[in-house]
Amino acid sequence: MNSSSNYYLEQFKRSLLIMKKNVKIYYSKGPVIVFGVLLPMFLFLAYFIGRNISLHEAFPGLLGMTVFFSATSVGPTIIPWESRLKTLERLISTPISLWSMFLGDVLSSFMFGVLISLIPLILGFILGVEFINCFLLFGGVILGVLCFSAFSILLSAYPPTDTPSTIMMLTSLVRFPLIFISGVFTPLSALPGWGVILSSISPLTYFVDLTRASLTGVSYYPLYIDLPVLVFIAALFFIIAVSIHKRSILKRLS
C-alpha cells in the first residue's frame, strides 16, 4: 500500500471515530429531535389532513420532507456546540485533517437521516403505498440523504457562531423556502414555467422527482439527470463547506 492511500485510510478511520462521537452526543439533543423528527411530521400532517389526496400522491412529499429535515438537523449544530463547549481546539489539535473531521460530521448526519427516513418508508409499506421500483426508491433515499447531509455542513459554515439556536434559526430560514420551491407539495409537471426554473436550483427537487419516479414510473427529469445531479451537488456542497470552514474555524476559538 502506498503512502497516500494509507493517508486516506487513516484519515477515514478518524472520520468514523468522529461519527461515533457525534452519534453519542448529538442525536439526542433537543433541537435535533425537534427540527429533525417532529417538524417534518407536523408539516406533513398540516398538509395532508383535511385535503382530498391519497397517501400515494402525498408520499413523495412526505418522504422528501422527512429526508430533507432529518438529514439537515444534526450537521449544523455540531460545530457551534463544539465551539460553545470548548471541545473544538482539542479536536483540531489532533492529527486529523479538516476534511476527514467534516466527513465524520456528514456521516453522522447521514446515519441520522437514513434512520429517520425509515419511518415514512416503513409506514408507506404498511399502509400499502405501491412502489414500482424499490431499488430506485432506496437508492434515491441514500443519495438524497447524502446530499442534504453535505448541505447541512455547509449551513453551519457561516457565520461562525457558537450558539446552536442561532444556526438552527438561520438553517430554517434556508430550509423552508427550499421545501416550498421543490415540488414537494405540487408535482413539477403542475408548476408554471418559472416555477420549474426556480425549483431547479433546489437539490430537493431532484430527490422528490426520483421518488415520484419510483412510485409512478414517471419523472419530470430523466433519471440520468436526477441521479448524477444529486451526487454532484453532494460533492460540491462538501467541498465548499470544508473550504469555508477552513477559513472561519479559527474565529471559533476564544
Partner: protein, 306 residues
C-alpha cells in the same frame, strides 16, 4: 541532543494588535521549558502557533525538525496538547473521551485501552471512568484532559496553564507526573503566569511581555540577573527620622515600617557601612540586619515592569 522546538523570528498580528513580536527560542529534547508572562503577553497565541492551529505571519517553527506548516499531521503526532480553554466532551464518559482522542492519534484499540486504564489509575479517575464528564469537578476534568494529552505517548508535551485554578492536590499530582515523564525523556513546554510554578518545575524559562521575549535563561540565572540588587532590611531599637537612608536605595525603593527600614541596594558593602555610620551618629542601636535575594517573582515583576 535534538531540538524539540525551534522558533525563528516568529510574529503574529491580529489586525493591528501585535500579539507575538519577532520571538526566537529553542527548546532542547529533555527540557522542561517555561513560557512565562502576564495576561495578554502572547502565550496562548505562541502555543497555538506551535501546535499548528494558527499560522505565524512571519518566521518558522519546527517540531523535532518538522516544519509545522508543511508537515502538520506528522508534527501533531509527536505532541501531547493541553489547550488553555478546553474541555472534554461533557456528554461522554471519561473513558469514551480518552478512547476517542487515542483513536484520533491512531493508537490501536488494544494499546489505547491498556494505556487508558493505566493513565486513569495514575490520575485517580479510574473509579469514575464510566461516568459522564458532566458530573466531574474542575480538577477531575483537568486531570482527564492531561490523560487525553498523554494517551498517544507523546515525546513532547505542550501545556497551556495546566494548573491554573486547580487545588493543591491536583496541582501536585500533575506536577509530579510531569516530572516523572520528563525523567523518562519527555520534553515539556509549559506556559504560566505563575512564577512559583515555573520555579518549581522548569529548567529554563522565557519571560514574555507584550509579545516580546525579555529573557531566555535558566531559572537560576534569571534570579541572579536581578540579584545585583539586594534587599536590605534593618531593624533599629527605636523609631527615628530615617530619611537620610533613602539616598542609599536604588530607584527610590525605600520603605519604613516603624523602627524597621527596608531598602533595595546595589552595593551591599557600601550600604551596610553607611547604615552603621548612621546608627552610630544618631546613637541608635541596630537590633537586626538582613539581606534578602529577590525571588523569581521579584525578577519577573521587575522584568515585565508590572
Amino acid at each position: 541532543m535534538r531540538n524539540a522546538i525551534e522558533v525563528v523570528n516568529v510574529s503574529k498580528f491580529f489586525g493591528k494588535i501585535k500579539a507575538v513580536d519577532n520571538i526566537s527560542f529553542t527548546v532542547q529534547e529533555g527540557e522542561i521549558f517555561g513560557f512565562l508572562g502576564p495576561n495578554g503577553a502572547g502565550k496562548t497565541t505562541t502555543m497555538r502557533m506551535l501546535t499548528g492551529l494558527i499560522k505565524p505571519d512571519t518566521g518558522q517553527i519546527r517540531i523535532f525538525g518538522l516544519d509545522i506548516i508543511r508537515s502538520p499531521l506528522k508534527a501533531k503526532q509527536l505532541m501531547g496538547i493541553l489547550p488553555e480553554m478546553s474541555n472534554a466532551y461533557i456528554d461522554l464518559s471519561a473513558w469514551d473521551n480518552l478512547m476517542l482522542v487515542g483513536g484520533l492519534y491512531g493508537v490501536p484499540r488494544r494499546v489505547r485501552e491498556e494505556r487508558g486504564e493505566r493513565l486513569l489509575k495514575q490520575f485517580k479517575l479510574f473509579d469514575r471512568r464510566n461516568q459522564l464528564v458532566k458530573g466531574f469537578s474542575k480538577g477531575m476534568k483537568q486531570r482527564l484532559l492531561v490523560c487525553m494529552a498523554l494517551i498517544h505517548d507523546p515525546i513532547l508535551l505542550l501545556l497551556d496553564e495546566p494548573t491554573s485554578g486547580l487545588d493543591v492536590e491536583s496541582t501536585i499530582l500533575i506536577r509530579n507526573i510531569l516530572r516523572e515523564l520528563n525523567e523518562k525523556g519527555v520534553t515539556v513546554f509549559i506556559t504560566t503566569h505563575n512564577m512559583e510554578e515555573a520555579g518549581k518545575l522548569c529548567g529554563r524559562v522565557a519571560i514574555v511581555n507584550h509579545g516580546r521575549i525579555l529573557v531566555t535563561d535558566t531559572v537560576e540565572n534569571v534570579k541572579n540577573k536581578t540579584e545585583r540588587f539586594k534587599i536590605l532590611e534593618v531593624v533599629f531599637d527605636r523609631v527615628a527620622d530615617f530619611t537620610e537612608l533613602a539616598s542609599l536605595a536604588v530607584n527610590g525603593e525605600f520603605n519604613v515600617f516603624d523602627e524597621r527600614v527596608r531598602l533595595v541596594v546595589e552595593d551591599v558593602d557600601a550600604a551596610l557601612n553607611r547604615v552603621v555610620d548612621y546608627a552610630r551618629n544618631n546613637s541608635i542601636r541596630i537590633i537586626s540586619l538582613n539581606t534578602l535575594t529577590p525571588s523569581l517573582e521579584d525578577a519577573f515583576i521587575k522584568l515585565t515592569g508590572s
